[in-house]
């Protein structure tokens, strides 16, 4: 990790005005990222996806995003023009969305979508775009890339959809990849193979990775550091390899909820949520 972070976020807030009042999805979180693998874990609805989307200014209306600071490689993301943001999104920061199939165009062949995404950012011939797209599909362990290239989104499995999104987001060779539950639909073997690709990009090319996941064991073994979120706040940030020894009662509670392979079939522990967690973040 170099001393100047790739990404710095300070006091980020995201809120949605609704008929029943304002939903505060993110409530003042701060973290920074170097050329490393940063995991984000936490409660469903705690604001993980909104945090990822705000970095790319992709929070949709009527969401309101504010921050003291949001800086990527010296660029002020809040001040950047729309044109500048488009360039950043295409070339420097990619995001794999949580609902991959929903992010794909249902009436366009999968391969054409990858190739098209590539060609909007890079001046290459169609044949070259196709070759690169097939190569990426193969890299993410798609077994029959030629067939999948020609398939429509509804013709691929859940895990294939996720890998297609990963392939599409890696083609521009981003400096920062935000991956929102990117491998939740993959069997464990393929999951680790895909993570190895991301890992190599971080260690060999210095990419930064934000890895949003519910899988605590995976995050502990894969990431360098972990941010633990609850109700829009950061509860703690710890070294991934020490996640097992985390101190915060919320994190401890999460670890206790995990089923184990040698389970005796009794009820799993559930979390008793402490109202105090709502009030005190890092």
């Amino acid at each position: 990790m170099s001393d100047k972070p790739l990404l710095a976020i300070e006091d980020l807030h995201v809120s949605f005005p609704t008929r029943k009042g304002v939903v505060e999805a993110v409530r003042g979180i701060s973290f920074s990222l170097g050329r490393e693998k940063l995991g984000i874990v936490g409660e469903s609805g705690s604001g993980k996806s909104m945090t990822g989307r705000s970095i790319l200014r992709l929070v949709s209306r009527p969401g309101i995003v504010t921050a003291k600071r949001m800086e990527f490689d010296g660029i002020d993301l809040q001040r950047a023009s729309a044109a500048q943001m488009r360039r950043i999104r295409g070339q420097r920061i990619s995001m794999v969305m949580q609902d991959p199939k929903f992010s794909l165009n249902p009436v366009m062949r999968v391969g054409e979508q990858i190739a098209e995404a590539y060609r909007t950012h890079e001046k290459v011939a169609p044949a070259e775009a196709k070759r690169r797209s097939l190569e990426m599909l193969k890299a993410v362990r798609i077994r029959d890339p030629e067939r999948v290239y020609r398939a429509y989104p509804h013709e691929v499995s859940g895990g294939m959809g996720q890998r297609i999104m990963i392939a599409m987001m890696l083609i521009p060779d981003p400096d920062l990849l935000i991956a929102d539950e990117p491998t939740s639909a993959l069997d464990v073997t393929v999951q680790l193979q895909v993570l190895a690709i991301l890992d190599d990009l971080v260690t060999q090319r210095g990419m930064g990775l934000i890895f949003i996941s519910h899988d605590l064991n995976l995050v502990a073994s894969f990431c360098d550091r972990v941010v633990i979120m609850y109700a829009g706040r950061v509860m703690e940030i710890c070294d991934a390899k020490n996640l097992d020894a985390a101190q915060h009662p919320y994190t401890r509670g999460l670890l206790n909820c995990l089923p184990r392979i040698d389970s005796d079939g009794r009820d799993l522990a559930v979390l008793r949520r402490d109202p105090a967690w709502m009030e005190h973040g890092l």
């Binding site: 020609r150 398939a151 464990v188 999951q191 089923p259 559930v270």
Partner: protein, 269 residues
């Protein structure tokens, strides 16, 4: 194996599903057979793209293009199902976003099956089921795009539960849930199984979830079942097939060096 005893709620015999033609032809499910005794949970695990969702879709009547024999509650099933079938069996889809109508509120999504089946007391049923999946009354009038991924998945589970079916076909029902909500949903499913004798087929990539929930499981690779085993065998870590053993290694967590030793078990069996 516990599959030897008890009345079979689900029987699948030599199920085959083929999609497409020519170069696009995929034999997605090849000669898959299993039986699920009433009141038990059958797990389906295996490689991404190996045909797990396709098996569930054939079982649930969503994809009429299959061959082989499928019997549910002792009745051989035709490719298409009638209304009564959906009172008996409900499915939770892998992709919750795609399965929820984007312009319907949670309330309307849950009301619809109640109206179709003319069930009494819809108000109470909706409130109860939302509580059971851990969504407060605040969520009742939201649209799917106003929910987080895990909240959408819980709406999908609530929709399946609200008809009180005897069979649930669950495709990765907790993959978008944090572990605390996952524990609540899994406990709920276990309770329903004990109290009402429900029968489940559960697709999951998480071997710990499978070990916790299931009685028996089948391991799929490339359209075929490579191994069927009792969960006790899984817990003792004694699966036979090398692919299952590789899954067990992979489920220990990320290890860059181990990844390079993974083998491909394509097109065998």
């Amino acid at each position: 194996m516990s599959g030897e005893t008890g009345r079979a709620m689900i029987e699948v015999d030599k199920l085959n599903v083929i999609f497409g033609l020519g170069a696009d032809r995929v034999h997605a499910v090849r000669d898959v057979s299993f039986r699920v005794p009433e009141g038990t949970t059958f797990g389906l695990v295996g490689e991404s793209g190996s045909g797990k969702s396709t098996v569930l879709r054939a079982l649930s009547g969503l994809n009429p293009d299959w061959s082989g024999r499928v019997a549910v509650a002792g009745q051989a099933q035709k490719p298409r199902r009638d209304k009564a079938f959906y009172k008996l069996a409900q499915m939770v889809f892998q992709d919750p976003y795609g399965s929820l109508h984007p312009r319907h509120t949670v309330d309307r999504i849950l009301m619809e099956p109640l109206a179709i089946h003319r069930l009494e007391d819809p108000e109470r049923r909706i409130e109860r089921v939302l509580g059971e999946v851990g969504l407060g009354p605040d969520f009742r009038f939201r649209y799917p795009h106003q929910l987080s991924g895990g909240q959408r998945q819980r709406v999908a589970i609530a929709r399946a539960l609200i008809l009180e079916p005897r069979i649930l076909l669950l495709d990765e029902p907790t993959s978008a849930l944090d572990v605390s909500v996952q524990a609540e949903v899994l406990n709920l499913l276990q309770r329903l199984k004990q109290e009402r004798g429900l029968t489940f087929v559960l697709v999951s990539h998480n071997l710990s979830v499978v070990a916790h929930m299931c009685d028996d499981l089948a391991v799929m690779n490339h359209g075929v079942v490579v191994e069927e085993l009792a969960v006790a065998q899984l817990k003792r870590r004694e699966p036979q097939h090398p692919y299952t053993r590789q899954l067990m290694v992979a489920s220990l967590g990320y290890d860059r060096a181990a990844v390079d030793r993974f083998e491909d078990f394509a097109r065998e069996g």
